[in-house]
C-alpha cells in the first residue's frame, strides 16, 4: 500500500538541502585543510555561495512551515520516545513492529522530532550565525568585528561534524521503513509504501485531525457549523437515520447511543450501544450514576454548561466531544441533546451520540479504494 506523505515542496526542500549540505561539507572540509580537491579559492567561493543558497532555502522553508502549519510536526513529544529507542536497540532485530506510524499529520517518530528540532533550532542557526560572522565580521577594521576567528571557527567545525554524523545516521535509518528503500523512494516520489496497519492508522489520523479542525471551528462559531452538519447528515444517511423520526425509534437500528439523564444529573436510561461506546459491559453498570463519569474534569465543565442550557428548554445539536471511556481510553463522538418534557416541566435531558468511528471507517474505506484506483491508473499510465 502506498500513501502520499511528502508534498512537492517538502521533497524539493529536502533534496535541495541534501545537495547544498553535501557541497558545504566537501568544500568546508577543504577550507578546513582536511584535503585538497577543488582548489582553495574555488572551495571558498563555492562554500560562500552555497551557504547563501541554503539561507534562501531555509527562509522559504520557514515560511512554508508556518503557512502550512507543518511546524507542528517538530513539536517535541515524549510519547513513545522510550518505545522508539527500544525498537531501534532491540525490537528491530526481532522483527517487532514500529511503535509509531508515519502519518501525514504526524510524520515523525519522537526521536526524529527531537533530532530535527535540534537541527532546526540549534545546529543550523549556530552554523548560519558563525558562518556569517566568519564571512563578514572578520576583516573590517571599523565597526563591530570579531576579536579573532577561533571561537566561530571551532563552533562552525564542531557543527559540521555533528551534521556529518547526523547524515550518516539519517541515511542509514531510511532503510528501516517498510522496505529498505521505501523511505527514500517516498522522499523522491512523495508516495511511501507502508503496511496495512500503517495505512489504516494514517487514515484514521487524517480524519481525526479533520474532525478536530471542525470542532475548533464550531467552538468559535456560535452558529451551527455547516461543515459538521454536512458530515453528520452523511453519517446519518449511511446509518439509515432520518432526521424527523423520534430518537427512541431510530436508536434501536442506528447503532447510535441513547441516554437520558434526570435533573439531578443521574443516568436514568442508556441503551446497549451507549454502554458499548463507553466500554461498559451493560447499561445496568451506568444507570443511577452521575453523568460526570463520562468526561475529563475539563470537558465536564463544558458538558455541565450544555446540560444546564438544555434543562432550560434548548436543544443543542451535533456537538463534537471527547468521551472518557470506562477503561480510561478516549473516544470521539457527536452529541445532540434535547430536554425531556413531562406536562410543562423539564424533568431531564435525553440525546444520542454518534460515534465518529463509524464515519471514520466508512470514509477510510472510500479513501483506500480511491488510492488503489489512483495507483492502478498511475501504473497503467506509466506503462
Amino acid at each position: 500500500m502506498k500513501i502520499y506523505i511528502y508534498q512537492l515542496f517538502e521533497r524539493f526542500w529536502h533534496w535541495m538541502q541534501v545537495l547544498l549540505i553535501f557541497t558545504l561539507a566537501i568544500t568546508g572540509l577543504e577550507i578546513h585543510g582536511t584535503f585538497e580537491l577543488f582548489g582553495y579559492r574555488t572551495a571558498v567561493w563555492t562554500h560562500d555561495t552555497a551557504s547563501w543558497s541554503l539561507i534562501v532555502l531555509v527562509v522559504f522553508a520557514i515560511f512554508w512551515h508556518f503557512t502550512t502549519g507543518e511546524w507542528r510536526q517538530y513539536k517535541p513529544s515524549m510519547k513513545l520516545l522510550k518505545e522508539q529507542i527500544e525498537y531501534y536497540i532491540t525490537g528491530i532485530f526481532k522483527g517487532a513492529e514500529h511503535p509509531t506510524n508515519k502519518l501525514v499529520y504526524n510524520k515523525f517518530n519522537p526521536l526524529q522530532r527531537f533530532t530535527y528540532l535540534g537541527l532546526k533550532i540549534l545546529v543550523i542557526p549556530v552554523m548560519g550565525i558563525t558562518g556569517l560572522s566568519y564571512m563578514y565580521l572578520n576583516y573590517p577594521n571599523q565597526g563591530f568585528q570579531l576579536a579573532g576567528l577561533d571561537i566561530v571557527a571551532y563552533l562552525h567545525t564542531a557543527g559540521a561534524y555533528i551534521l556529518i554524523v547526523f547524515v550518516i545516521a539519517h541515511v542509514y535509518l531510511t532503510t528501516t521503513g517498510h522496505k529498505p528503500l521505501s523511505a527514500i523512494i517516498a522522499m523522491i516520489t512523495g508516495w511511501e509504501e507502508v503496511d496495512e496497519k500503517g495505512a489504516r492508522a494514517m487514515l484514521a489520523d487524517e480524519l481525526e485531525v479533520a474532525l478536530k479542525i471542525t470542532k475548533a471551528r464550531l467552538k468559535t462559531d456560535s452558529n451551527k457549523s455547516e461543515l459538521l452538519d454536512t458530515a453528520l447528515a452523511e453519517t446519518e444517511e449511511k446509518l439509515g437515520v432520518k432526521k424527523d423520526e423520534k430518537f427512541r425509534n431510530v436508536v434501536a437500528n442506528s447503532g447510535a447511543g441513547y441516554f437520558r439523564i434526570n435533573c439531578e444529573g443521574i443516568y436514568e436510561e442508556v441503551n446497549k450501544a451507549w454502554a458499548s461506546l463507553y466500554k461498559f459491559n451493560s447499561p445496568e453498570d451506568v444507570i443511577g450514576k452521575h453523568y460526570s463519569l463520562s468526561r475529563s474534569p475539563e470537558e465536564f465543565e463544558e458538558l455541565e454548561i450544555t446540560f444546564n442550557k438544555v434543562r432550560k428548554g434548548e436543544t443543542i445539536p451535533h456537538g463534537e466531544v471527547t468521551r472518557i471511556c470506562q477503561d480510561g481510553t478516549v473516544g470521539h463522538h457527536t452529541v445532540t441533546m434535547t430536554p425531556v418534557v413531562q406536562g410543562k416541566k423539564v424533568v431531564g435531558v435525553e440525546g444520542f451520540i454518534l460515534d465518529t468511528t463509524a464515519r471514520l471507517l466508512a470514509e477510510k474505506e472510500l479513501l483506500e479504494n480511491k488510492i488503489r484506483l489512483e495507483q492502478i491508473l498511475a501504473e497503467r499510465d506509466g506503462k
Binding site: F12, R41, T49
Partner: protein, 533 residues
C-alpha cells in the same frame, strides 16, 4: 512543476550572482589592471626641457668637484636648503622610537649587524654620503659646496666615488661630461648605494640588486626593462628633494612612505575577498613570493670567526660555489642565499631600534624591532596603527658586544694603515672596540664577546608578475612549510584547527559509521526473524 523550477532558480541565484563577479577575473590582467596617478610606458612622452650641455658655466675647467656644485647652485639657487634637510645629507632623522621618546637616529649613529656602525669609519662609509669630505666629526653640514649633486644626477654613467675618500670621486673623471649630462636620477644613481650597501651587491636589502638595472619582469614586474621599465623615482615620488619612502632599518615612524596603493588603489583586485585580505596583509606579502631572485643576498654574518689569517699573516678570502664570499678574515663567516622565501611578521609601521646605549635584554638582539600583532585591528588601530602581515628579510649574525656593560659596541674597522687600531688592518678586537667606543664617547669595559643579532628588512621591491604571486594554499595550509606557519597569534582557516574538536569529530564520525554497519549487519543476519513479509 513550474513553481519548483522557479524556486530552484531563486535559491541558486547567489551562484549566478557570485559567478558573474567571478567571470570578470578571467579577463587579461594587463588590460584590466586598475591604475591611478600613473602614465604607462606606452603613453609616456620623453621631452627634454633643458640641455645642460649648452650652459657655458658647465664648460668651465672644474678644479674640484665642489666647483660643479657651485655651478649647479648658480642657477638652482636654494636647492641646497632642500638637500640639507634631506637625510641622504644629514644621515639622521628625529623620530619617535616605538614606545619610547624622540631620538635623532640615522646612519650617522645607528648600529646594524652588517658593518656594525659608521661612526669611527666615516672615511670609507661616507662613500655613500651625498657630500664631499665627511671623514671625521669636523665635517661642516652647513657648507653647501660640500653637496655632491652628481652622484644622484649624473646620467653619463662615468661618475664614481672612490673607496676610502670620504665621498670624493675618483681622480681624473671628466667633470664637464658628467655635469653636462645631468637629469632626473636613474636607477643606476640610486642603485650605486642602495644596491651596494653593506659592502657588496644585494648584501643588505635582498630586494635591491645591481641586476635590477636591466632585469626581466620576472625579477621586478615594475622595473623590468621588458615591461614598464619604471625607474626608482616613479614610485619614490620626489618634490623639492624630499624623497618619499624609507626603510625601517633606520626609520621608526609611520610616515613619508611609498605605498602600492598610490597607483594600485586600495581595492586593486576584481575579487573582493582578496581586496579584504589587503586590510590585514601587505600587498608585498603575496606579490613578493621570493626575493634575491637574480643574485644572492647575505643571510648570516658571523663576526666571531673573523681574524683567521694565512701562514704569512695575510687576510683570507674564501668563496662558495656561486662566487660569494663565505669567509673573509676581516669580516668573518657569511651565508648567502638566492630566491629566498621571506619570513612573515605583523607590522603596524612602528619600529624600535637597539641603540648603542641600550642594554641587551633579549638574545638574539633585535636590531630594529618591528611592532605589530594580529590584535592591532579595529579600535587598536587608533592607538597603535593597523598591523598587516609583511614579508621580511631577516639578517642574522653574531657581532661583538661589551660583556660587562651588556651593550652592543662600535668597532673601528677601517683605517688606511696598520697600527691605527682598525680591525681590518690589525685584527685586534679589543683595540678596535676601544677605539670605536672612544670615538663615540661611550665606556668600554675591556671585555667583549659575541652576541647573536637579528635585523629586519621589510621587502618592497622585486615584485613578481601576478601569475607568480602567492595563492591561497601557500598560507591556508596546515603543512609546516606554509608561509605563515610561524605566525601563530591568530586563527587562520586551512592552517589552524582545534585538535580536540577535530579528534572528537572524527571519532564520532567513525563510531557512527561503525555503529551503522553493526546495526545494519545485525538486521541482515537476523532477517529471518522479521515479521514483515
Amino acid at each position: 512543476m513550474k513553481q519548483i523550477i522557479y524556486l530552484v532558480l531563486i535559491i541558486l541565484f547567489p551562484f549566478s550572482l557570485f559567478a558573474a563577479a567571478q567571470s570578470e577575473e578571467g579577463v587579461d590582467v594587463q588590460s584590466t589592471i586598475k591604475l591611478v596617478n600613473y602614465v604607462k610606458k606606452a603613453d609616456r612622452v620623453n621631452r627634454k626641457v633643458v640641455d645642460h650641455s649648452k650652459f657655458s658655466v658647465l664648460k668651465q675647467d672644474f678644479k674640484r668637484p665642489q666647483d660643479v656644485t657651485l655651478a649647479c647652485l648658480g642657477c638652482h639657487t636654494e636647492r641646497h636648503t632642500e638637500i640639507m634637510a634631506n637625510n641622504h645629507w644629514t644621515w639622521t632623522r628625529t623620530e619617535k622610537l616605538n614606545g619610547r621618546g624622540e631620538v635623532t637616529l640615522g646612519k650617522k649613529n645607528i648600529l646594524n649587524n652588517f658593518c656594525i656602525g659608521t661612526s669611527s669609519n666615516r672615511e670609507t662609509c661616507t662613500r655613500c654620503h651625498i657630500g664631499y669630505g665627511w671623514k671625521d666629526e669636523t665635517f661642516d653640514f652647513n657648507e653647501k659646496e660640500n653637496i655632491d649633486c652628481l652622484v644622484c644626477h649624473d646620467l653619463s654613467g662615468i661618475y664614481k666615488k672612490e673607496s676610502g675618500k670620504a665621498g670624493y670621486p675618483y681622480e681624473g673623471i671628466n667633470l664637464n661630461v658628467v655635469a653636462q649630462s645631468v637629469g632626473s636620477p636613474k636607477r643606476e644613481n640610486c642603485g650605486i648605494c642602495h644596491y651596494w650597501g653593506g659592502g657588496g651587491n644585494n648584501v643588505k636589502h635582498g630586494d635591491l640588486d645591481k641586476a635590477m638595472n636591466d632585469c626581466s619582469r620576472e625579477v621586478d614586474v615594475h622595473m623590468g626593462t621588458d615591461g614598464e621599465d619604471m625607474s626608482c623615482i616613479e614610485c619614490h615620488i620626489t618634490e623639492n628633494h624630499n624623497i618619499t619612502g624609507k626603510l625601517y632599518a633606520l626609520s621608526s615612524e609611520n610616515k613619508n612612505r611609498v605605498t602600492c596603493s598610490q597607483c594600485h588603489t586600495d581595492n586593486p583586485h576584481q575579487d573582493d575577498l582578496i581586496n579584504k585580505h589587503g586590510l590585514r596583509i601587505a600587498c608585498q606579502t603575496c606579490h613578493i613570493p621570493v626575493y634575491a631572485k637574480a643574485n644572492s643576498t647575505k643571510m648570516w654574518w658571523d663576526w666571531s670567526s673573523a681574524g683567521r689569517l694565512d701562514e704569512e699573516g695575510n687576510p683570507l678570502h674564501e668563496t662558495d660555489a656561486d662566487g660569494n664570499h663565505n669567509y673573509m678574515s676581516i669580516k668573518g663567516t657569511f651565508v648567502w642565499d638566492q630566491n629566498v622565501k621571506p619570513e612573515y611578521y605583523w607590522f603596524n609601521g612602528l619600529a624600535d631600534h637597539q641603540l648603542i646605549t641600550d642594554t641587551i635584554s633579549e638574545i638574539p638582539v633585535q636590531m630594529n624591532t618591528l611592532d605589530g600583532a594580529y590584535s592591532d585591528k579595529g579600535a587598536n588601530c587608533k592607538t597603535k596603527g593597523c598591523s598587516k602581515i609583511w614579508p621580511v628579510k631577516v639578517h642574522r649574525g653574531k657581532q661583538p658586544y661589551d660583556v660587562i656593560n651588556n651593550t652592543l659596541v662600535q668597532v673601528k674597522t677601517y683605517a688606511k694603515n696598520k697600527g691605527e687600531h682598525a680591525y681590518w688592518k690589525d685584527f685586534n678586537w679589543d683595540e678596535s672596540i676601544a677605539a670605536g667606543m672612544e670615538y663615540v664617547g661611550l665606556p668600554y669595559s675591556g671585555e667583549y664577546g659575541f652576541v647573536e643579532t637579528e635585523m629586519y628588512w621589510p621587502l618592497n621591491h622585486q615584485v613578481s608578475p601576478a601569475s607568480q604571486s602567492l595563492t591561497c594554499i601557500d598560507c591556508h595550509t596546515n603543512s609546516t612549510d606554509g608561509r605563515l606557519a610561524s605566525l601563530t597569534d591568530f586563527y587562520m582557516p586551512g592552517r589552524d584547527s582545534n585538535a580536540w574538536i577535530d579528534n572528537i569529530g572524527l571519532i564520532l564520525i567513525i563510531l557512527s559509521f561503525i555503529g551503522v554497519c553493526i546495526h545494519g549487519g545485525l538486521r541482515i543476519i537476523m532477517r529471518k526473524n522479521c515479521l514483515h513479509d
